[in-house]
């Protein structure tokens, strides 16, 4: 009966993810969008748990639901005028975009349906962190370090960008 529970969990999580995602992209108020984004991220983290990826789920919650969303809220507050009601308008492209994404979804769905995926049948180990660590720090050590550098560089770049503009702003 495990299957049924997990199916149920999947349906609930999928509903939560898709519903909140739809709200994110349709709400007029940007702050609300960001809040619903957190809900979506948590849903995704749940999905990861369902997929036996506890470490990724934890990272998802920490990085996305935590850090990224906080950053986004700050971003919104830094750039947005006081009026938040219509902070997230829709442009003319939605008329084209809606059928496009619909078509894309259908195509991917069809392709998925056509695919014959070979399920290995083996179970993912319950404890993923012990398995992940050696891979990440042995085989993938160089990408790992590169990612670290990337983050540092991104951080520095972000600081530089914002600071520079400020200096210019003072100057002008």
């Amino acid at each position: 009966m495990d299957n049924v529970y997990s199916l149920l969990a999947f349906v609930l999580l999928a509903g939560m993810i898709l519903g909140s995602a739809l709200l994110v992209v349709t709400l007029r108020n940007l702050v609300h969008s960001v809040l619903w984004l957190i809900v979506m991220f948590i849903g995704v983290a749940g999905t990861f748990l369902l997929l036996n990826a506890d470490f990724v789920a934890a990272v998802q919650v920490l990085v996305y639901a935590g850090a990224v969303c906080i950053m986004l809220v700050f971003g919104v507050m830094l750039v947005q005028r006081p009026n938040m009601e219509h902070s997230n308008p829709i442009n003319w492209r939605f008329k084209l975009a809606a059928p496009l994404v619909g078509g894309l979804f259908i195509v991917i769905g069809l392709l998925t349906a056509k695919s014959q995926l070979v399920v290995s049948g083996q179970e993912v180990p319950a404890q993923t962190v012990q398995a992940l660590a050696p891979i990440l720090l042995n085989d993938f050590v160089i990408p790992f370090e590169v990612a670290a550098i990337l983050l540092t560089v991104a951080l520095t770049g972000a600081l530089l960008l914002v600071k520079e503009v400020k200096a210019n702003g003072n100057g002008s």
Partner: protein, 645 residues
């Protein structure tokens, strides 16, 4: 010494070349030293050349079998060029004559060019010129000869344009170079023909092969063409009609240059070349006739111009052109001996007269119009009397040098006519008439310059020894230089001849005729320009035959014609070409560029700058491509169908 000289004849041109290098790189700042270096090299060269001449003229074997030695210059499969030395009496004579005249003229130049800021440069040019000319003389190969021929032309260009501050000198230099260049073009074609057909440009090799031209698969007509093409070179270099125009203008250079280059050496290079390649011309009577006629025509043509010219050096220049025509005539009628003999005597008396003219100009501070001179002989006795000797020589008064050579040419021309050549007598008539005119205009100049009343505004003085010494030497040679070729004891003809040596009996009638012509010419000049102190008769004649006078005075307007041609035809067509280039060729290119730009301008409106539009289009395209790949073609769809582990 003599053996050394014979085997080291290449040192003769090399020494002045070395002097050139030394002056250019080392001694340029010290004019005196440069002059000394140049003269020392030239004199050593002269000594060596004399030894060579002695060696050659004591060994009759060289007449038939020249001494040749050469080395490979460059080469490749099917085309090799050797450079070397070819010594026979003709080249030995030239070697001797050129080195001697060059030495004398360099000595003269120390006086004439005294104090010139470009003194060293002048001597370096003279050295380079002497080197090229001597190299030309001993060349064993036509290409080698052509190369030195061109170098001689370069030196001539530099020396004519020596007074760079004068625009006229600059123009004259350009004119000289380009005019002779036209001749060189023809000659180059001729050489190419010879190389391609006979496979060699060695004089000896060609002399062997050309008589059997039929074996090389060419007709007489083509050979005639080749010969005429080769002859175009000498037309340019030796100032034959219609490429004579540069020679009178070349008098813009310093006078020693005129004497050295434009009287005694370079201009006779053309004559020498024809003499060297006489084996070619003797094969083709047509070409020889062309040479004879061009020679005779040039002789009379230049003489008629010379009678009205006013500038002393110009008269001499036209006289040179005329005398060169004479030499060509001799070669054209097939007598190497007579042509070379006249070349030999002419070198002395013409160099003498040019140097004398230089002395006069020096004294009168470059006043050149003979009408403004007069009575100079009193103040400048050496210049004057040597000049008179030159005048007697060129007019053809025995026993001066010119008489013998001119007589020889008349003899061979008459013989040529008697052999039944069509129009041969016309040639003889032209030659005789030229002799008359020559005597006339030369003495017109002499009377106007040296005799008659002194002009008070002139303050002439005799030139320094460095200038008069060469005059004296040359005068002596002009007086006796012809005695080696008298009809009674023709040493000259024995050594220098083509084919069979010429054994003409002395033709006393012709001798008398020739002297009579000379005397008549001198007499006429005497009557018009000496007796008649006011020159009334001369002026009257000029008045009465105004059109003829003008025609002659303006040199038959040939310069104007050429100038018109250059300006209106060459330059205009150049302008047309240029117009075509920037308006048609360039516009095609620019048009293509413009079309590219225009299409770019049209297409740029697709760049709205809105990044979301780009993304929209991107994903639309992605969708389309995916659909086509996944569902369009069965094979592709199959390959897209699954993820294989």
């Amino acid at each position: 010494m003599v053996d050394f000289a014979l085997t080291h004849a290449w040192l003769v041109p090399l020494l002045p070349a070395l002097a050139f290098v030394i002056i250019v790189f080392l001694t340029r700042p010290w004019p005196k030293l440069s002059g000394a270096v140049s003269i020392a090299a030239m004199f050593s060269s002269f000594v060596l050349a004399s030894s060579v001449a002695y060696g050659v003229f004591t060994n009759p074997g060289f007449i038939e079998r020249p001494l040749i030695y050469s080395l490979r210059w460059f080469g490749m499969e099917g085309f090799t060029v050797d450079v070397g030395v070819m010594l026979d009496p003709t080249s030995a004579m030239m070697l001797f004559m050129v080195s001697m005249v060059a030495t004398l003229i360099q000595i003269y130049s120390t006086g004439y060019m005294h104090g010139d800021p470009q003194y060293s440069v002048f001597f370096s040019y003279l050295s380079l010129f002497a080197a090229s000319m001597l190299g030309l003389v001993i060349s064993s190969n036509l290409l080698q000869m052509f190369i030195l021929w061109e170098l001689v032309g370069l030196c001539s260009f530099l020396l004519i344009g020596f007074y760079t501050f004068k625009i006229s000198a600059r123009e004259a230099a350009k004119k000289a170079f380009i005019t002779t260049r036209i001749g060189d073009f023809g000659m180059l074609l001729g050489l190419l023909f010879l190389q391609i057909i006979f496979g060699t440009l060695d004089l000896a090799g060609l002399a062997e092969r050309v008589p059997h031209y039929e074996q090389y698969g060419i007709s007489l007509g083509l050979l005639t063409l080749i010969a005429i093409l080769v002859f175009i070179g000498p037309i340019g270099k030796s100032g034959q009609f219609p490429l004579h125009v540069w020679l009178p203008d070349a008098m813009e250079g310093p006078t020693p240059v005129s004497a050295l280059i434009h009287a005694a050496t370079m201009v006779v290079a053309g004559v020498y070349l024809v003499g060297r390649t006489l084996f070619l011309f003797s094969e083709v009577p047509g070409a020889a006739e062309v040479i004879a006629f061009i020679g005779a025509f040039t002789a009379i043509f230049a003489a008629t111009i010379a009678i009205t010219q006013r500038e002393i050096k110009r008269i001499l220049a036209y006289s040179t052109v005329s005398q060169l025509g004479y030499m060509m005539l001799a070669l054209g009628v097939g007598s190497l001996s007579a042509g070379m003999f006249h070349l030999w005597t002419h070198a002395f008396f013409k160099a003498l007269m040019f140097l004398g003219a230089g002395s006069v100009l020096h004294a009168l501070h470059d006043k050149a119009d003979v009408w403004e001179m007069g009575g100079l002989i009193k103040k400048m006795p050496i210049t004057g009397w040597t000049f008179v000797i030159g005048g007697l020589a060129i007019a053809g008064i025995p026993p001066f040098a010119g008489f013998w050579s001119k007589d020889e040419i008349l003899v061979v021309t008459l013989e040529y006519a008697r052999q039944g050549h069509a129009l041969g007598y016309l040639l003889f008539f032209l030659a005789s008439f030229t002799a008359l005119l020559t005597a006339f205009y030369m003495w017109r100049m002499i009377f106007l310059t040296f005799f008659g009343k002194e002009k008070p505004e002139n303050h002439p003085h005799e030139s320094p020894l460095s200038m008069t010494f060469p005059l004296l030497v040359l005068a002596a040679l002009a007086a006796v230089g012809g005695l080696i070729g008298t009809p009674w004891a023709n040493v000259w003809g024995k050594w220098i001849h083509f084919g069979h040596p010429h054994h003409g009996e002395p033709n006393y009638g012709l001798m008398f005729f020739s002297v009579a012509l000379a005397v008549a010419g001198i007499g006429l000049a005497y009557r018009l320009y000496y007796q008649d102190e006011e020159k009334k008769l001369a002026k009257q004649l000029a008045e009465r035959y105004q059109p003829l006078y003008k025609l002659s005075y303006h040199k038959y307007y040939i310069d104007e014609l050429y100038q018109w041609f250059t300006r209106q035809v060459v330059d205009a067509s150049a302008a047309v070409f240029y117009w075509f280039d920037i308006h048609v060729v360039d516009n095609i290119v620019n048009g293509l560029a413009g079309a590219t730009k225009l299409s770019g301008q049209g297409l740029r409106y697709f760049h709205t700058g809105r990044i979301q539009t780009y993304a929209l289009v991107f994903f639309l395209a992605l969708l389309v491509i995916t659909v086509v790949l996944a569902f369009g073609s069965p094979t592709l769809a199959g390959s897209m169908g699954g993820v294989h582990s």
